[in-house]
């Protein structure tokens, strides 16, 4: 069994008499892209900061790559892009990456090689010797991402990596996350953009008031079929009424029928039934719940931003 990338047990942080994180217990496997979802103020950023040793937990334990949090050898294999990242803007792009590479303990030649490679990857190669103060918000976010990847990390924390990015930039971040997964890097992704989480993550945790409410495999999302839309002719009242055995809320509008169903497993039976009843089926579309619907269902309306 491989060591988990992250393991926490009942991690808790109090600020004064207010608990920002009540008791976080979760495990992220190596090579996994893990989404961390929850409303603002749910303790997501505080949790990440505890894992990185920036904030001391009040109680509980946590391990990064098998070592207790704060262990320098494991931090050398971790990358981090903080939320609302501000920069040493008086540095040039190369100097900025040189600083962070040196702090990672990289050698000069490795650092220079990696710097050029990554600047090329995010399309900033020509800005290598420009001061960061001249960069746009999107360029800064990209250079911040490069900073987090300098040391070829085994685990990367990305706190709202796409905030402030245009669609092209967001696409770039998504592609980089995919590449990281292919390379076997674990990614811990904190994002408000559910559509992004939906396409990038293997698993997600929903957290509220600093506790994990639910952990879900994203592949389960595809099995979580709840609606079926059928376009067919020959949907007689008898056929419609017989369909009720598989679901509720049947609604027929000329040749369009929608119904809620219990799950994906019933789909073949419904299809067979329609064919047997001589209905002419033009479309048979199962719809799954979106992550947004699950988010609201899990965390309640107050979770919507």
């Amino acid at each position: 069994m491989t060591t988990p990338a992250i393991r926490t047990e009942d991690l808790r942080k109090e600020f004064g008499d207010k608990a920002a994180v009540k008791g976080l217990t979760l495990q992220v496997e190596q090579g996994e892209v893990f989404g961390f979802l929850g409303p603002n103020g749910a303790g997501k950023t505080t949790s990440i900061k505890m894992l990185l040793g920036l904030v001391a937990p009040t109680s509980g334990t946590a391990y990064l790559l098998g070592a207790p949090i704060g262990d320098r050898a494991s931090l050398a294999r971790v990358g981090f892009l903080p939320e609302h990242f501000r920069f040493q803007e008086w540095l040039t792009a190369h100097e900025f990456l040189e600083l962070h590479g040196e702090l990672f303990g990289m050698t000069t030649s490795d650092l220079n090689h990696r710097c050029d490679e990554l600047l090329e990857r995010v399309g900033l190669a020509e800005f290598r010797n420009k001061q960061l103060r001249t960069f746009s918000k999107g360029m800064l976010q990209r250079i911040g991402l490069v900073q987090a990847l300098m040391n070829r990390p085994a685990l990367v924390f990305l706190d709202e990596p796409t905030s402030g990015l245009d669609p092209v930039g967001r696409r770039l971040v998504r592609d980089i996350i995919h590449e990281l997964r292919e390379e076997g890097t674990s990614v811990f992704l904190n994002s408000h953009l559910l559509s992004e989480i939906e396409v990038t993550c293997d698993r997600v945790a929903f957290i509220k008031h600093g506790e994990v409410i639910r952990v879900m495999e994203m592949s389960a999302l595809n099995q979580n079929i709840s609606m079926l839309t059928i376009r067919a002719s020959g949907l007689t009242p008898e056929v419609v009424s017989a369909l009720r055995q598989w679901g509720d809320d049947l609604r027929l509008d000329s040749d369009h029928l929608t119904m809620t169903i219990r799950g994906e497993t019933d789909l073949p039976a419904i299809n067979r039934f329609l064919v047997a009843q001589n209905a002419q089926v033009y479309a048979f579309t199962p719809n799954r719940l979106s992550l947004e619907e699950i988010f609201i269902e899990t965390l309640g309306q107050d979770g919507v931003q």
Binding site: K49, L52, G53, L54, V55, A56, R72, A73, L75, A76, V78, F80, L81, P82, H84, F85, R86, F87, Q88, W90, L91, E95, L99, H100, E102, L103, F104, G105, Q131, G144, Q147, A148
Partner: protein, 283 residues
């Protein structure tokens, strides 16, 4: 050690890129220019006023006079260096916590103490440059215009630098738990306290009032910055002005070498306190 040096270089680079060094140099040069012009006129008119005195006495008087003006200049340099130290340290840690730049630094595989020591070293190099250029410039301008050089220049200048280093260290330590503005208020308040304590001790010494001297010593123990200046002035002042007594920029109640040792220990402990506070701080 490598990390400390990396961060010191970065601190240094920041000071250059954010034009802190440039502003310091320009204002420093303006100061030196004003001092030199002022000194030139005062010196020429003073030289002209005692034409009848025998040459030996004339020279003696001139030296006393020149020494006093030079110490006045160095006193201003000490204040400017201390203020530079206070300003460099004030916003550094607190500012980086507010902007968040500290997060990507501290989450690297480094010790938190490296951050404090790196910044301290960077600022120390800057202050050394500033204090030596400014006090060196003052002494040089006096020498060029009058041919006078004081005793123990190096010891004196080193003590002026040590004072600015002490103030910067206190500022850095406060900045690890206070905001930049609060740090500035505390440090300048302490500097003022030390200043007034020094004068109370001097005047008390002249009036032979032991209580006033004790008050001065206690403030020197609370913050020994002013006593470093008084030791520097003692090192550089002419023996006669020490014998005559009170001179505004010379010194009567001389801090002992023990006080210098105390100031160094004070500095080291303050730096350790800064590290300890920063180690336990949530960022």
């Amino acid at each position: 050690m490598k990390t400390i040096w990396t961060l010191a270089r970065m601190t240094f680079r920041e000071a250059i890129r954010r034009r802190i060094v440039l502003t310091g140099l320009v204002l420093g040069l303006i100061f030196l220019a004003v001092f030199s012009v002022g000194f030139h006129f005062v010196y020429t008119s003073a030289s002209a006023e005692i034409p009848t005195a025998p040459e030996a006495i004339d020279n003696l008087m001139k030296n006393e006079f020149v020494n006093m003006i030079m110490l006045a200049g160095l006193y201003a340099v000490t204040f400017l260096s201390a203020a530079m130290g206070a300003l460099l340290g004030a916003d550094t840690i607190s500012g980086e916590i507010i902007s968040g730049t500290i997060q990507t630094v501290v989450s690297k595989p480094i010790r938190r103490s490296d951050v404090i020591l790196g910044k301290w070293l960077g600022f120390a190099i800057l202050l050394a440059g500033y204090a030596f250029l400014m006090s060196g410039g003052t002494v040089l301008s006096v020498w060029l215009l009058s041919g006078y050089t004081p005793h123990n220049i190096l010891t004196g200048v080193a003590l002026i630098f040590l004072e600015s280093l002490l103030i910067m260290t206190i500022s850095l330590a406060c900045s690890s738990f206070l905001s930049g503005l609060a740090t500035g208020s505390v440090v300048f308040g302490m500097y003022g306290l030390s200043f007034i304590g020094g004068w109370v001790e001097q005047i008390g010494s002249v009036l032979q009032n032991d209580t006033a001297v004790q008050v001065g010593i206690v403030t020197s123990l609370l913050i020994p910055s002013e006593s470093l200046w008084r030791r520097a002035a003692f090192e550089m002042q002419s023996p006669i002005s020490a014998a005559i007594g009170m001179s505004p920029f010379g010194t009567i109640s001389v801090p002992s070498p023990l006080m210098i040792g105390y100031a160094i220990i004070y500095l080291v402990l303050t730096l350790m306190a800064a590290i300890s506070t920063f180690n336990h701080r949530d960022l």
